[in-house]
């Protein structure tokens, strides 16, 4: 759950949304994130977790849960 907490706090900070609003099924559309918001979020995630998320991976990411499982796979 640690990754989920960190991702939630990053999204909340980057996109100015309440952490309470976020669960594993929240999509970018749910929180009104545009394409540049997603780019900025990806950059923040890369910096926080010290990894690179390729364009192809970003395309596949639809929900907060997708981000969490991608990161968990990368850092495990």
């Amino acid at each position: 759950m640690e990754v989920f907490e960190k991702v939630k706090s990053l999204i909340s900070e980057q996109l100015d949304v309440d952490e309470e609003q976020l669960d594993m099924d929240t999509t970018f559309e749910d929180i009104d994130a545009d394409s540049l918001d997603v780019v900025e979020l990806v950059m923040a995630l890369e910096e926080e977790f010290n990894l690179e998320i390729s364009d192809e991976e970003v395309e596949k990411i639809k929900t907060v849960g997708d981000i969490v499982s991608y990161i968990e796979n990368q850092i495990s």
């Binding site: 394409s35 950059m43 364009d55």
Partner: protein, 329 residues
């Protein structure tokens, strides 16, 4: 051995087209809205050339202002550099057309193409001639007239660009002043991220290239966004380190004005406050090589920049190219 001379910017000038195209005007041209454009770019309006206005005519006006403020006559210019990717015509260079307009007959005139980084490339090139003593008076113009090469059917790009020109006079300055450090960078492996594919000698204009809209700017926005934020931070820190300064020593940063969200993301990572960042993108959009000299000129006219201020300049653009410099004003 005599100490090398230092090069500095001693005056600035600018010229902007008369016609103002607002986001509301664009709503009639492509499927877009003021809200959409403002949220994604920070741009509210841009200037576009019309009538007799051209790359060289804007350059001439900006140059005359900078020359007058420096107390310099056109015939005293040793080197005339026009940083641009949109010359009036493929041949000759815009610099030679500007030379003729100014009657700067003693100058060696040439264009410098480095995408939106053109002005910073020109600054570093000019700096070398002054530091070695090969030239005393350099006129550097950053100018682009992108509106004719913007695809007005592509709503992702056409809202971002504008036309304009900025000029600076560079001269030797006293030790400790002027350009303290500068550096140019390129990565040609990322050329396809921002290009005009046709119209060069490889794919000259044909009916086919016209039908394919090959003569217009094609850009991968999200990729450039990531690249830009990263290299703006890295190159600014690098030039600061080159001259033994820290971000906390900076009075202002004059970043290339491509997108306010790129500027904010980079400046946040550099730990700079909003007051330290010179921004005018809301009025002009991305004028390519003209953004930095124009934002400097406005900050000087507003009395923001004062003698002794420490400034960082940083830009990025097609190539890809990027560059940064630190100046003690």
């Amino acid at each position: 051995m005599r100490a090398r001379k230092k090069a500095g910017i001693v005056s600035t000038g600018k010229a902007l087209p008369v016609v103002r195209l607002t986001n509301y005007d664009l709503e009639y041209i492509v499927e877009t809205s003021d809200e959409w454009i403002t949220a994604r770019s920070g741009i509210k309006e841009r200037r576009i050339i019309s009538g007799e206005e051209t790359n060289s005519s804007l350059s001439e006006i900006a140059a005359r202002i900078a020359l007058e403020r420096a107390g310099l006559k056109p015939e005293e210019i040793d080197i005339l550099i026009v940083a641009t990717v949109t010359p009036d015509q493929p041949l000759p260079s815009s610099a030679c057309l500007v030379q003729a307009r100014l009657n700067a007959h003693r100058a060696a005139a040439f264009d410098l193409a480095a995408g939106c980084t053109g002005f910073l490339y020109g600054l570093t090139v000019g700096q070398q001639f002054i530091e070695t003593g090969a030239a005393k008076n350099i006129l550097l113009i950053g100018v682009d007239t992108l509106s004719p090469v913007v695809d007005w059917t592509d709503r992702r790009t056409c809202v971002l660009f504008g036309d304009g020109a900025g000029a600076v006079v560079m001269q030797p300055v006293e030790e400790g002043r002027g350009i303290l450090a500068s550096k140019m960078y390129s990565d040609g492996s990322k050329a396809e991220l921002l290009e005009i594919p046709a119209g060069g000698s490889k794919r000259p204009a044909t009916l086919k290239t016209l039908q394919e809209r090959g003569h217009y700017i094609k850009m991968n926005g999200p990729e450039i966004f990531k690249f830009a934020v990263k290299i703006m931070v890295e190159s600014t820190l690098n030039v600061l380190e080159m001259c033994g300064k820290k971000t906390s020593d900076l009075t202002y940063i004059a970043p290339h004005q491509a997108n306010v969200r790129i500027i904010n993301a980079a400046c946040k990572r550099l730990g700079l406050s909003e007051e330290q960042v010179l921004i005018n993108i809301q009025r002009y959009g991305n004028m390519s090589s003209a953004t930095i000299p124009v934002v400097l000129d406005e900050a000087l006219e507003e009395g923001k920049i004062k003698q002794g201020d420490l400034l960082a300049l940083v830009s990025f653009g097609a190539g890809l190219t990027w560059g940064a410099a630190v100046l003690n004003w």
